[in-house]
Symmetry: C3
Subunit: 257 residues, 3 copies
């Protein structure tokens, strides 16, 4: 292959990354799809989340976890499964199973179950004994929106309790949490979340292209982005690098000498 190198592009972090992470949402991919997505784009994938409770039913789980290890991608259990387990008094069983199966990471959230902040931080500390913890802030229910102050405080507290990164809720649809129902961005919520821990500690769930482009324009190529479908990782990478109309940078225009 003749690797192209004729363009001036923004700086991008490389793996293992601490900033500029891409976090994939697996909604139940087949092993074959996971394998070919990793062959095509592993250098651009940092975290692979088994969305909500899909891991509980995924017959390809062992093979996928092995593929992820081989490609240097952090495997992460979805937060909803841990919430449901917690609600049934089975949080420890869930964590034990995740460890036995070989997950690197778990998401700790309180978007579904009636969990207090104290409960969440207890669970977060428990999980952080054996896993990289990604916490999540924001409800899946548009009627339970947090105030800006609550966003800032919960992000800060989650990090203090042991979260490596904090994910801001957007769901697979991109219509709650930091987004309005039409998918547009609640800028004051984004600002409040960033205030809680710094932009490098936030992973923004951003399933839609317009949301990804907005965040890249606001925070640069190395913003952390989450809930990306596996088959859209290369397209996202072009957005990060200004190789798509939505993030084209007119300041890089060539000027005759």
């Amino acid at each position: 292959m003749i690797t192209p190198a004729f363009l001036t592009l923004p700086e991008r972090s490389t793996k293992p990354r601490t900033v500029g992470l891409t976090h994939v949402l697996d909604k139940g991919l087949t092993v074959e799809s996971a394998r070919s997505a990793l062959v095509a784009a592993a250098p651009h994938i940092d975290v692979w989340k088994f969305g909500w409770g899909t891991a509980y039913l995924d017959v390809g789980l062992p093979e996928k976890l092995e593929l992820l290890r081989a490609h240097g991608v952090l495997s992460c259990l979805g937060g909803t499964l841990l919430e449901i387990s917690w609600a049934q008094g089975k949080a420890q069983d869930c964590l034990d199973w995740a460890a036995a199966v070989g997950f690197d990471s778990v998401e700790v959230s309180r978007g579904v179950a009636p969990m207090s902040l104290d409960d969440k931080h207890h669970l977060l500390r428990l999980a952080s004994q054996n896993f990289v913890v990604l916490s999540e802030v924001g409800s899946k229910d548009p009627d339970q929106a947090l105030t800006a102050e609550q966003w800032t405080r919960e992000v800060a507290q989650d990090l203090a309790a042991g979260a490596r990164w904090v994910i801001t809720e957007g769901r697979e649809s991109g219509t709650v949490g930091i987004y309005r129902e039409d998918g547009s961005i609640r800028e004051e919520v984004v600002t409040a979340a960033v205030r809680g821990g710094g932009v490098d500690k936030i992973m923004f769930e951003a399933p839609r292209k317009d949301q990804q482009a907005w965040l890249i324009r606001a925070f640069g190529a190395d913003v952390n982005l989450a809930n990306i479908p596996a088959e859209e990782v290369v397209a996202l990478e072009t957005l990060r690098l200004g190789l798509r109309a939505d993030t084209f940078d007119p300041s890089r225009l060539w000027q005759p000498a």
Copy 2:
């Protein structure tokens, strides 16, 4: 694989199912995609419909039909192809071809062609000589909506004429038949269809997650759901089992002793 078993989940039927069926819509999948979808999710797939006229062009048809047989999934010819054949005076040719190729089942509908109810029931009886028949009720044209009484009557008559199940129209888009143009549910139509044959005899076309979740909340984990994309079968199964926020069951909360 360490199969997880720490959660209390709703009862689910198993194959071969008479209720709780999942009916997949194949819009022209490659053989490889079909194969890996079946490896990943065959225990959750009961019927596989080759949508509208795709079977007529599908070069992978023999391989797919063999895969479906091997995985215990009923293969079904799309109703639009039979309607077009009927409109051209070729219904018998279509059925003969479907039998020769090896279809188990055909859909009998009148959503496109100008077919009377009598014509439909004649075709249904003809088809039921050699196939499991899934009939469909509801027009693809939002301007030709049936009344509630018509829904009830047509469902009942289709079952009397030999249909094993009756599919309620929703299209791939989920915007006609039992749905409004915005995808929300016309509850009175759902009720009318159920009145015609009982909920176990109805398969609801439900391509959208919110529609699936509504029907599962209304009728339980074992509602029959149709027009599911192959790559979303595992996600649907998590919805049926309450492993996703949309169908989380707060009544299953653990209480300290």
Copy 3:
């Protein structure tokens, strides 16, 4: 396989086509997905565009280009990459790389960079020395819409400058160029574009089914359609042939003798 032949269908061109082309948009497919899409549908695929700047990052590029050659499909570099290269003073480097890697075709557009019509035609003539050129008309920015007269003139001038076909902008989303923001068709723009070169020289970007169906009803089975996802090519072919409700032709009704 028992190839079905019982229906009367509209005439369709065959490869290599000069009309009725289907142009696929590759947004970063894996090699495996490209391979299986070509096995399933190569007779229906004429052009394969590596969308915007994805080719710059596509590690599977050499394998894909070889597959496309083997299946008789024209490989095409996305116009946005050439625009960005031009904006950085690297248009020649981009074309040299595309030739070295083995592209058959390049798209020449001015939807992103501040390129005058003269600049575009200069670039078009440069590119046409070594490539089949597909030019594109229409901005990606809804606020920069061309008048009908500008559409007609730019189409005619692009053809005169060496474009083999002219693509009308619609983006991946189908919401700009010849479409309104809600995806509906600006008929006066379609008419103006056709006036510039004749319908056989226009490729309409038509990512949505309703847009495809409209154009097929307006111009027939052999209208040129662009930006089709690889996995929807068979579905599009059923639309072209009247094998789906949206393009069902009631004039083909059988009449008893």
